[in-house]
Amino acid sequence: MWQSRAFKQLLLGLYVGLAASTVWAQLPAYPVKDGQPLVLAEWMERLHEAARNRSYTGTFMVQSGSDMAASKIWHVCDGRQQFERIETLTGSPRITLRRNDEVMTFLPERQMVLKERRDALRIFPDFLRTPSQKIETYYQAWRLGRDRVAGVDAEVVDVVPKDGLRHGYRIWSETTTGLVVKLQTRAASGQVLEQVAFTELQLNAPVKTDALARQMSNTKGMRVVQPQITPTQAESHGWRLRADVPGFQAMSTQVRSYGEGQSTLQWIFSDGLASVSLFLQSFDANRHRQEGALADGVMQSMSKRVGDHWVTAMGEVPPETLGLFMQSIQRTR
């Protein structure tokens, strides 16, 4: 009776009438510590392994701040290679095809294909096994219980930050496979800052690797664009942090080149679950006119001038964390 459509519609009507002040954060007070603790790094490895030797299709939606969007996904892994196709259902058409860390983004309306390699897709879970990475130092994970998402049973885990420099996460993973079916980024207040969730899911769907591979090689009639990205070291470009921001390790640095001799240095940091990019550019009075902080959903950004350069810190972290980065970044020459 509780789950019948008629009952839900009645409840929705009452809710609208009752809850003029009810907001998105009707979820429980955070953190919820009724569950059992678990070893976070091991749990994250299980989530990564979930996609191996599996195929599935589904529909998911992303809620970020006040924005929502939905996509359809096909995924297959034969134990060696992972293939994915993600097709947007809202907004402008876009098809993203992935083979391991190789990503091709098809934009049909513009007859264009963006071809890239994404390092971020292949450093985990090995990164979690390195001695220098102690994710449990900054996060505590708790089992909360069971829930149901997109028609499948899921185990729910709360990942609670141990300080105010990072957000928390609530992760729903399908009980049999460990596949993540819902993920929330949550502020300390319990407010959900961002959510990715399947609304419909078919496990073991008959997705063929060769079909997806053929799609990746079919760029006929499309303009193929490949960004110029070069790995580098921030120190060799005259940058350093005076002091580390607690929990955040430098992961990589790269130079992204644009036309007309312009380039941007991107220095990437991570605490294992959240990341911050420091964008370091030459100061340009025509482009860089706005110092300050801006926010979009879970993403915070902060910009300021440092001598002849323009620094922008950006990440899915509280603004205080970006403030620490901004106070620490300095030129060495």
Partner: protein
């Protein structure tokens, strides 16, 4: 005629709620889900309705779990108020199964690739936000500590906000401020900076859905 029109309007509203409920419960097929999302994207205010349904769903599951399920505890006052009303009212109809929304052509969205960068509300708020303590050489060694110490507040250093690079854009959600420079950097952060353990479960899906980098 007026009554019939009102009834049809109520039926149309119920159709949307019925389909949203099915979508949210994972009871739609893949094709139905795709059609529904494409239709929803054309409906102003559908995000708020989705939020409302999700809240109701959480409340129902929490009530069903009872004492054995502390997983999702909705706001107690809200739930009690709803349950009190339910004691006094009972459902008096059973809606007929309703047809799915037809797939509609997607018009060009005015807000494609627009990120809702929101300026911090006031200078005073900005000062509070960027007030952090950072002590040269004095950052606490986190190893072995139970709780990494939160920074202590100091005077802020970045407060001025110049809105001249922001472009107002009309969207279904209202006037939003668009900053193309920041959008490009955010796309680069999403694509290359997401070096976290969450990138593979969900981060990549998010980027592929919301990515506005390609212009």
């Amino acid at each position: 005629m007026h009554h019939t029109h009102a009834t049809n309007s109520a039926t149309d509203a119920s159709a949307s709620h019925e389909q949203l409920s099915a979508l949210m419960d994972g009871e739609c097929t893949s094709q139905e889900s795709a059609e529904l999302f494409q239709a929803l994207a054309q409906t102003p205010g559908w995000q708020q309705t989705w939020h409302d349904f999700d809240t109701v769903g959480c409340a129902l599951r929490a009530h069903a779990q009872g004492a054995a399920g502390p997983l999702l505890k909705p706001h107690n006052v809200f739930v009690q108020g709803v349950m009190d009303r339910l004691q006094a009212e009972a459902p008096s109809w059973a809606p007929e199964p309703l047809p799915l929304a037809k797939q509609q052509a997607l018009p060009e969205a005015a807000n494609d690739g627009v990120f809702r960068w929101k300026m911090v509300a006031s200078i005073a708020t900005m000062a509070a936000v960027v007030s952090v303590a950072w002590q040269l050489g004095g950052v606490a060694d986190p190893v072995g500590s139970q709780m990494a110490a939160a920074p202590k507040p100091v005077e802020s250093t970045v407060v001025a906000v110049n809105s001249s690079t922001l472009q107002p854009v009309q969207t279904p959600q209202g006037t939003m401020l668009r900053n193309p420079e920041l959008e490009a950097l955010m796309a680069a952060h999403r694509q290359y900076g997401g070096m976290t353990a969450l990138q593979m479960p969900a981060g990549f899906l998010r980027t592929a859905t919301f990515d506005s980098s390609v212009r």
